[in-house]
Every structure is written in C-alpha cells, then in structure tokens.
C-alpha cells in the first residue's frame, strides 16, 4: 500500500503504519491515528490536511516523539527514530524540528525571545557566544521581527508575532525537515505571504523538507508538492496537489474543497455537504469512517475499512465506490 505514497527521490522522512491509541474512560480506546503511511522527500513539501480532530497533530507529535506512538515505524534519512530509546533521540532533533499549532503553549513564558532562539543553538551547535548572538539577530530579521523584539516575553507579543518566533526557533539549527503545525493560521495575509515566501526561500537554499499541516487550502495549494487528506485517523486520499485539487475523488476531499470561502465580494459557492454528525474516534467499527455521512455510501462500505487504491500518477484514494464509478 505504501508505494502509492512514495514520491520521487529518497524519502528523508518515512512513516509506516503509525498508530496512536489513547485509552479513555470505561476501558474504551480512542483511535487517534490508525495506520498512517507518509513519505517526505528531501526538499519536498507534503501537506497534511483534514478534519479537525482527525489526528494530524497527533501524527506530528508521534514523529518527533513528544508522545509515544502505539505502533509503527518512523525513519529520518534511514535512521529509525520510532522505535528508538528516548535517550538516543537528542541528536535527531538537530535534523527534525517542529513548529507548534499553539505558539502560546509552546513558548516558555519565562524566556524572552533572545533566550528562546539561543537555546537550540546552544544545545545543538558548537558556536561561540558572539556567533550565537549574530545568528539570533539574523533569525529574528528573517521572520520579519526586529531586534527590539528580542527582549520581549511571549505575553508581550501579538498572536502572529509569537508564531513567527516559533518558526525562527525551528529553523535556527538548519534541520533537514520541519514539521509545521498550522504555522500561518494566525497571521494576516500580508505577513502570511512573507512567511510562506520565507519558508519557500529556505527550502530552496537549504534543501529543507516540510510536513505542512494546515487548514488553509489556499496556502496548501501555494506551497505543497503533494497532499495527504486525513479523516478520523486515516489517510483517505493522497497525491500531487494539482491533481487532488483539480480532481478530488474521495467524498470527504470533495466536501472539504467545496467549503473554502473566497475573498471576493458576491462570490457564491456550492458546498458539497456531508450529512449527520461527525463520527467518533472511540472504538470505531471496522468500516469506512465516513459511512454515516457519505452521499455515495453503499452497503459494502460497512464491510471493512478501505485501504488506499492507486489511481496512477501517484494519486490514491481509499474509496472503492468512486474508483468503480468514475466521474
């Protein structure tokens, strides 16, 4: 199944059959991530999109081992980091960095911006104090802040400014791959444009790869090479961004793409709506997760969870119904 995910070139990040189960009350199991495969090639951007609560942040947190996966394998440039004893992880963080969804909670409130940016340099790079100070100044400017912001504490920054500090911290040690969890969600369009430009520029100059989690489909279309769409713990569609956006196949992908608002006066869009309540990730049945809400559901959809089906051109969809009945 994994071959359909495979991109050209060598995968810098490879995720195989990742699972994360949270025990919840009454001995039940919340299946947050249910067998996810991902490949990100060096210098490439893979976008991970999908319903809120579908497990995107959990995938990211498992990859960097902020939480322990329940199963699966993760390798960075051929080196396994899942499974790997926690104490051997330190060297890996030089190569993989993460920007968190919630910049407020991820910045230490007792450190000012200078200290936040200096810390990874001190931990991972052998630089002199003066070199580090220079690099810190370079970093704040790269993300469009000024040296005056260096003395500020997180609570003294606006939401967007905090997010930029998070990005500066992640790129500080020149990693190979950065996981960005909603990196631009609280930025205005002009700064968002700047940050995206910056990310693309860094990618070109440093050959950085990105795993880019976002709800902003415009941004995804703008920056990503490939996209993977998640729904309740699983990837339901994956492929080159242009193909998936032009010809979305999975009913969830179609609903998602049709819901995006357009920043123009008087434009009306036609939404493809999913019926009913969002299904729960707790003790899910062995069936397509969309079954209660899907306009195309067939009796066969309740018999087993569909896996990804290759459509050619690296496009794959986990829905036999749409594959059998082409549009």
């Amino acid at each position: 199944m994994s071959f359909v995910n495979m991109s050209v070139g060598d995968a810098i990040l490879q995720v195989r059959d990742l699972h994360k189960i949270f025990p919840v009350e009454g001995g039940r199991r919340l299946v947050a991530v249910d067998g996810v495969d991902l490949d990100v090639a060096a210098g490439e951007t893979l976008a991970l999109v999908g319903e809120s609560g579908s497990g995107k942040s959990t995938v990211a947190r498992c990859i960097v081992r902020l939480i322990e996966p329940s199963g699966g394998e993760v390798t960075i440039d051929g080196t396994a980091i899942v499974p790997l004893p926690t104490k051997r992880l330190a060297g890996i963080y030089r190569r993989i960095q993460m920007v968190f969804q919630d910049p407020n909670a991820s910045l230490n409130p007792r450190m000012n911006v200078r200290q936040v940016l200096d810390e990874p340099l001190r931990l991972h790079l052998a630089l002199s104090g003066a070199e580090r100070a220079g690099r810190v100044r370079e970093l704040v400017e790269m993300v469009g802040l000024t040296p005056a912001h260096l003395e500020r504490y997180p609570h003294e920054l606006s939401g967007g400014q905090r997010q930029r500090v998070g990005i500066a911290r992640a790129i500080a040690v020149s990693p190979d791959i950065v996981i960005l969890d909603e990196p631009t969600s609280s930025l205005d369009v002009s700064v968002r444009g700047q940050i995206l430009g910056l990310l693309l520029d860094l990618q070109q100059r440093l050959g950085l790869a990105y795993l880019f989690i976002s709800h902003d489909l415009q941004v995804v279309q703008h920056v990503a090479d490939r996209v993977a769409v998640m729904y309740l713990g699983s990837i339901v569609e994956t492929g080159p961004v242009a193909d998936v956006f032009r010809d979305p196949r999975h009913p969830y992908t179609r609903a998602l793409l049709s819901a995006a608002p357009v920043a123009q006066w008087g434009v009306k869009r036609t939404r493809v709506r999913l019926a009913g309540e969002i299904a729960s990730a707790i003790d899910p049945p062995d069936a397509c997760r969309l079954v209660g809400r899907c306009p195309m559901a067939q009796p066969s959809c309740s018999a087993g969870k569909p896996s990804l089906i290759d459509l050619g051109q690296a496009h794959a969809v986990a829905c036999p119904v749409v594959v059998d009945r082409p549009t």
Binding site: E51, G160, S186, P261, W265
Partner: protein
C-alpha cells in the same frame, strides 16, 4: 436595527517598556458595532485588534495604559466602570472567544464542568440541568459524542475542538448581546469552519446578536460580514460596508491587504 450597540471612541494607549518608557500602540482608535450586525476587524498582525477587543471585555494587560478615549456600550463607558460592574456584564451582556482557545480553558477542570459552571452562573438552576445544557452546546458546535467529551479535560481535545468548546461557551452557554470572536475558526478545517460561521450567523439573526469578528480570513469576511474595520499599526485606516471595502476601498493599505489575499488565491 440601525442603532449602535458599542462605540470605541478615540481610544489610545501605550505599554510600559522594560526601560520604563511609555510606548504608544493604539492611536485614536474609533469604530462602531451596529446592533444586530456582524462587523469584521481585519488588519496586520500586531495592529492592535486583540488589544481593543480585550479592552472592550475589560481585561487589557496590566502593563497597558489607556491614554485617551471611551468605549461606550449602550451609553455606559466601559473604561469608567469598576471590576464588579464589568463582571456583571461579562457573559451576560458581552462574551468573548479568545485567540488562543486552549489557553483560555482551565486545564484542571473538565470541559463540561466549565461550561456547566458558566451556565449556572448566568441562568441559575440545578447542576444536572446545567450539564445537559453544556452537552447540548457542545453538540451544536459539531463535537462528536458530546456526553463523553464533556467529561474530558482540555488537553484531551484537538486544537479545533478546544476552539469549538470556547465558541459553545461564549455563544451558547452564555446568552450575550455582544459576542466578540478573536480568530475563532483559524484552527478549524473549512467544513467545520463553515458550519460554525453558519451557526453564528443564525444566532445573530435569531437573537439579534451583535458580533465583532477579528479575523485574517477575508473569504469569511466577504461571505458573512456586514461591516468591516481595517486596522494598521494601531490605527483604524478605513471602515465601511463589506461591499464598499471589497469593491471600492479608498485607502492604499486596504487595497494592499485585499490584493495580498487575492494574489494568494490567484497563485493557488
């Protein structure tokens, strides 16, 4: 319907810097929220959108000093009333969804308990009735299995779910006249985002709710807002109806902002 519920008038303010100087951040900010209308506040990050909203809610940061202006809510100057009076307005009259939803929820109580507490505070009644209302509110913001989710703690929620719980609390558990939403849907996928915005639009129609929506998403603004306030660097640069702002912006900054969002669309 054309009355004004809230008016920010020449509001200016500054922060104490670490070197004990006053650094001005808001300059003569003026805007109006019309009764029953949905007004968007847009503008670049750091332009003061949240700060004005926090001031309306009476929780501006301690280091912030107001140097001039008034914030009139139904003819009461919110800057002139004491904490006790402000507290009686919060929730009952004015309600707010914060930019950082997860941080705004209390980590040591279950989500259901927090909603039920707020409900009881506003409406009285028994414990189990309050919990039932809390669960109903969670259901309305598309949280699956709300009975069980109500018994979970904020850290067990995804980012978007925490945001929806905050919206449930501010808009449904409370029954405010004025609802301030600071980037309420940025962490949500567009299907849920659209559902939530539809819910808010419906509430405004049904209850005549007045809403102030701070957002970076000009698509949402074009689709659902009646009025727009554009801010830049601590100043209001332009206000007008959504149609006027989108079709005939007069200020360069507004044009730049619109162009930036359409560029991104065109590039996409």
């Amino acid at each position: 319907m054309s009355g004004v519920l809230l008016e920010v008038e020449n509001y200016s303010g500054a922060f104490w810097s670490p070197t004990n100087e006053l650094v001005p951040v808001l300059h003569q900010v003026s805007y109006r929220l019309k009764t029953g209308a949905m007004t968007a506040v847009v503008g670049e990050t750091g332009s003061g959108k949240s700060l004005v909203a926090l001031s309306i809610f009476g929780i501006q940061p301690a280091a912030f000093v107001c140097t001039s202006g008034r914030i009139l809510y139904r003819d009461t100057d919110l800057l002139g009333i004491d904490e006790k009076e402000m507290r009686s307005l919060r929730g009952a009259e004015i309600s707010m969804v914060f930019q950082d939803a997860r941080a705004a929820l209390n980590p040591v109580f279950t989500v259901g308990r927090q909603l039920a507490d707020v409900y009881q505070l506003q409406h009285g009644g028994g414990r189990s009735a309050a919990m039932a209302k809390a669960i109903e509110a969670l259901r309305q913001v598309s949280i699956p299995e709300p009975e069980r989710r109500a018994r979970q703690y904020p850290h067990e929620f995804s980012g978007g779910m925490a945001q929806r719980a905050m919206i449930a609390m501010a808009a449904l558990t409370c029954r405010p006249s004025l609802l301030i939403l600071d980037e309420p849907t940025t962490g949500l996928d567009v299907t849920i985002q659209s559902d939530i915005m539809e819910l808010i639009v419906e509430l405004s129609r049904q209850r005549g709710l007045t809403t102030c929506l701070i957002t970076h998403d000009l698509g949402v603004v074009a689709e659902i807002c009646d009025e727009v306030v554009v801010m830049n660097a601590g100043r209001v640069v332009e206000t007008g109806t959504t149609e006027a702002i989108f079709t005939a912006p007069t200020e360069t900054y507004t044009r730049r902002l619109l162009a930036a969002s359409q560029l991104l669309e065109a590039a996409a």
